[in-house]
């Protein structure tokens, strides 16, 4: 049993973090140049030949950096293609398509690939707009949609961990500086204890998300349950982390100019897309009880 990251993986995380901090809106072409697309696709199909666990690190960091492009959706589709291509991809789930306005192609649940086109909808998370596909003919692809769905939900869980981590860091930084009644507010336990809870929950969610990623990478028989578990817990953790962080920030955390509401909206987007936590837990409950 070894649950740790290799030196190469730690290096990848550092690189990803510093790049995304400087370029949160980096276009897909920049990420392609960095070798971030098709990381887990075998080399003979034009990919990086690494594992989904390596790719998982990028998803977590994309969440922490609140990356705004179609990186996640493209990355989870590429392994389903015969060959890694240069297009931006998205997927359609429950009739909704993330980043419909900026991608080239959309993979539908019936495994047809259709050119992106349709109506872009105003979405609460402005950095990840949803759209509805217009009717159009698609090209039928080989293989099942299920592995794509599992990669997508696992990637969302990982992104949620990154969101929770950032919300926690922002909260810790603020309460360590802000003074009221002549004291740093972080000394008050009513302020510090919710952040301690966020820390515990974020680490638990991180363990689940990487367990799920490992199951996906290994095609483990538990993958579907692990992914549902991770998506449920990580999404709720991210939402709660943002809510607590907004609360300990006081008034400033409620303003449009502060970045927190963007994380909060992303957390809620993640929870909703592909099914809220309660829907994921029903998958787990069926596995345990039926």
């Amino acid at each position: 049993m070894e649950f740790a990251f290799s030196q190469e993986q730690e290096e990848l995380r550092r690189e990803a973090r510093s790049f995304l901090e400087a370029n949160p809106e980096a276009p897909l072409s920049d990420l392609r140049e960095l070798g971030w697309l098709g990381v887990s696709v075998p080399e003979e199909r034009g990919g990086g030949g690494l594992s989904f666990v390596d790719e998982a690190i990028l998803f977590e960091e994309a969440g922490r950096g609140l990356h705004s492009g179609p990186f996640l959706t493209t990355a989870v589709v590429l392994p389903a293609l015969p060959q890694v291509d240069d297009q931006a991809w998205s997927v359609e789930l429950d009739g909704l398509v993330p980043h419909l306005d900026t991608v080239d192609m959309v993979l539908r649940e019936d495994m047809t690939a259709v050119p992106a086109g349709g109506e872009t909808l105003e979405t609460m998370d402005e950095t990840r707009p949803l759209g509805r596909l217009s009717a159009g003919d698609g090209e039928s692809m080989d293989g099942d949609f299920e592995p794509v769905r599992l990669r997508l939900l696992a990637a969302l869980a990982l992104e949620a961990v990154g969101v929770a981590q950032k919300a926690l860091e922002l909260g810790v930084e603020y309460v360590s500086q802000r003074e009221q009644f002549g004291k740093k507010i972080g000394t008050y336990q009513a302020v510090s204890h919710p952040l301690a809870d966020t820390y515990v929950e974020t680490e638990l969610a991180r363990s689940l998300a990487f367990w799920a990623a490992w199951c996906v990478a290994e095609e483990d028989e538990q993958a579907a349950v692990a992914v549902a578990a991770a998506k449920a817990q990580a999404a709720e953790t991210a939402v709660a982390a943002c809510e607590r962080s907004i609360q300990v920030h006081g008034g400033i955390g409620f303003t449009w100019e502060h970045v927190l509401h963007r994380y909060y909206k992303r957390a809620q987007w993640i929870d909703a897309f592909g099914g809220h936590a309660a829907r994921q837990r029903e998958v787990v409950a069926a596995h345990l009880l039926d």
Binding site: S192, A196, V200, L204
Partner: protein
Amino acid sequence: MDLRDTPEEAAFRAELRAWVEANLTDEIRRGRFEEAGRDWSRKLHEAGYAGLTWPREYGGASAPYSHQAIFLEEMARAEAPPHLGVIGLGMAGPTIIAHGTDAQKQKHLEKILSTEEIWCQGFSEPGAGSDLSAVRTSARLSLEGDHFVVDGQKVWSSFAHIADWCILVTRSDPDSDRHAGLTYLLVDMHAPGVDVRPLRQITGEAEFNEIFFTDVQVPVENVVGEVGGGWQVAMTTLLHERGTLGFALTAGLESQIRKLIALAKEKGATPVQRDAIAREWIGLQAVRYTNYRSLTTLMKTGIPGPEGSGAKLWWSEANQRVTKLALELLGPEAQLLSSNGNRQPGYWQHQQLRSRGNTIEAGTSEILRNIIAERVLGLPRSR
């Protein structure tokens, strides 16, 4: 990253599982706490499973922490009784190894491993719970200078009613304040002036005790570390208490959740209860894999990863939710005592009441949140 047992770990697990199957008899499983416990503890020692992580030179197996983790998982899986020497093996022994004299090592370590000596812990006092530095039990050096005279009261001491020895934190300098002036002693529980009284808890049973010390003579050679340096020694003990504790707790929770699922299948569960059960199972996986992360860091660096600091906090609250959920599944008969022939409610009532102690013992949840806030997150100190 590989979340499977290594071939070597898998072999250890398989061997241990086969051994438990052959040795954990119904007599031991159903026997009285003390006799069955002694029997079981002796068997574990003979098979080499006591003191797995202790260095070989002190009679241990010098095994990696992963073996200790596997051991705890398998014991919980088999619902084996606790090792009677848990305080000796997990707290007193490692403290003596770290700070004790050669004579203390000679005298006690082998007997701790064999459970010939059962140990208890004398830390908490009526006026010193979360704040251990408020200890008032006094140790006065005799005029001859060859022994201390100990007076005071300790509380919440498991195993004290059957213990032979006690690790005791005392105040040796009456003019000292807080962390200074404390001395760590090894005290013979059979010495004159030691009085143990059971402490009845909300479950009705007496798992813990109060210990009263009246003019108890303790030879100076029983001081561990320096006179006045008891705080550092006590911290070593508590560090060991929290070392692989997470695995024992998680393994225990796993067996509770297994029973909860069986109960839900038998009684049927509403959609709300199904959601709650799934939530607890997910939490269990989360804390289990978090323990593995912390363990991997411990094996690589010698220090457990910080993420493990939340394990006890999470477990204690999860155990309270799980046991309440079981009572809810049982319906109104959950209130009936087992004297009515209802074994199930009796079990879950006991577990539910016992679980209220989980957020208090071995560091209250409030103290654990303070520790995470200050030492892990680096927030300004509240005290």
